[in-house]
Amino acid sequence: MNSVSSRTPRFVRLGALLGVAFLALPIIGLLRRVAWSTLWAQLTDVATRDALRISLYASVCATVLALVLGLPLAWCLARMQFAGRRFVRALVLLPMVLPPVVGGVALLGAYGKTNGLLGGVLDSVFGIQLTYSLWGVIIAETFVALPFLVLALEGGLRSIDTKYEESAAVMGATDFTRFIRVTLPLLKPSLVAGLMLAWARALGEFGATITFAGNIQGRTQTAPLAVYTMLESNPEGAYALSFLLVAVSVGVLVGLRDRWIGGGSQ
């Protein structure tokens, strides 16, 4: 350890320190602006409570939906040779590099009631309108979060040695048993990492959500949208909510770690 750290040049260590400061300073700056005395009152305000509820509900639903769509996709990308695999991979990466607002416009083009490819049919045949609804928020968040899950799972599936699954098959395990008893436990670390990244991305989503699902308080206004909307009318509330988002994110990271330390040290 010591020998490694002494081999790290001083300018590299200095650079790393700058990097840490660069990431930490804005957080400190945010904490400085939080009005601690009115924090509780701000957080229990109706608009704030609505935004938090919608954010948590939608981000969890989006993560589940991303898992349902992402696991089969990652499986095929990792283990199958098929024509157009590179194309599918590029498609998976696209929402990651696309500006979220453009993602929102694209979603309108697909599921918008008046101008969308499927939106008109969804509305006239099934009576479903995704725009300006909670489902719209979930769809927008899934769209931007899915790549993170697919990438994590694909990496995980590639790194699993298939001999365990093969021996399970030889021993007569059905596909389903094999998946639940062998593949899933081996995949668990990547799965947790992927879910974590996807959830975090969904929770922080702004551009696609406001474009596709609008900004309706109590219906589609998520916490990031509420922070932006309140920044001018009620800065104290915006900072309070921002602080809570930081706390939730840190809490999830720490909580996840502790749980795994406890569970992993048998």
Binding site: R89, A90, L93, M96, V105, L108, G112, K113, T114, N115, G119, Q129, T131, Y132, F148, L151, A152, E154, G155, G156, S159, P189, S190, V192, A193, G194, M196, L197, I210, T211, F212, G214, N215, I216, Q217, G218, R219, T220, Q221, Y228, T229, L231, E232, S233, L256, R257, W260, I261, G263, G264, S265
Partner: protein, 274 residues
């Protein structure tokens, strides 16, 4: 176990890096993109004598000021105008927190009261245009909305955020009609443009927007006039920001906006004379 999770996070990074590295097209595209993005900077360097004036203007001025900017630059070859369009209330907080700006043009006059109070402008603004509000709905008016009083037929109404001038004007119009729309049916746009977009490209049924924005979007929305008796008189003001390093050039821009040439442009975009 913990380390495996964190190393999986690492795995995601490295996988992304690998995939991106393999995407050869990106390697080709990126230098081109950077070259294109870099061009204006180089162009600026060649004519280094040019002074840049940054004008923070209300989103509803985006079209008209774009044209005014072109004409102003033509008349003043040594000055380059750079615009920062956002809601007037955003502009006020940007300037109060030290955003580098030389001129502010806002869609109401209370914005200037705030800036006068914090000392960001020295004099009262010059009123350079007036505007009013209209109701816009989907093309063909599928819900058969004939006035503000019919807004209860709409399931989603797009209005500007309460703190943004157009949000305040919309609230005034609604109260003159005695119409109350429940907050659960209102989607709040961050500025005038976003509020209109919710109807023109999104699925909102109706929006209350500026007359000028409504007429420039005539192809994608159906406009329902709000009679003058119930309408508002939105006054637009402009002022030089205190501490501007280019206050002379900034003042020249302000004078151009209130000059006959500037007024002519504003008129063609549907603004009323002050």
């Amino acid at each position: 176990m913990v380390s495996t999770i964190w190393s999986s996070v690492d795995g995601v990074y490295s996988l992304t890096v690998t995939i991106l590295a393999k995407a050869r097209s990106l390697v080709v595209v990126l230098p081109i993109f950077m070259a294109v993005a870099g061009t204006p900077v180089q162009a600026e360097r060649i004519v280094a004598k040019k002074v840049t004036v940054t004008v923070s203007a209300a989103a509803s001025l985006a079209n008209s000021y774009g044209e005014i900017g072109k004409q102003f630059e033509k008349a003043n070859p040594t000055i380059k105008v750079r615009f920062n369009f956002a809601s007037s209330s955003s502009l006020v907080s940007q300037i109060q927190s030290g955003a580098p700006s030389d001129v502010i043009a806002a869609a109401d006059l209370t914005s200037f009261d705030k800036l006068l109070a914090t000392g960001n402008v020295v004099k009262s603004p010059q009123v350079f245009a007036r505007n009013s509000m209209q109701l816009v709905v989907k093309p063909g008016n599928p819900l058969r909305i004939s006035s503000i009083a019919d807004l209860s037929k709409a399931s989603v109404v797009s209005l500007c955020a309460k703190t943004v001038p157009c949000g305040g004007y919309a609230a005034t119009v609604l109260s003159r009609y005695g119409v109350v729309i429940p907050e659960s049916k209102i989607t709040r746009g961050v500025d005038a443009t976003a509020t209109l977009n919710a109807v023109s490209t999104g699925d909102a049924d109706a929006a209350i927007v500026y007359t000028t924005d409504a007429s420039s979007a005539k192809k994608s929305v159906f406009v329902i006039a709000i009679p003058a008796s119930k309408n508002v008189n939105a006054s637009y003001g402009i002022a030089v920001i205190r501490g501007s390093k280019n206050s002379k050039q900034a003042e020249a821009f302000v004078q151009f906006v209130v000059s006959p040439a500037g007024q002519k442009v504003l008129k063609t975009f549907g603004f009323l004379a002050p």
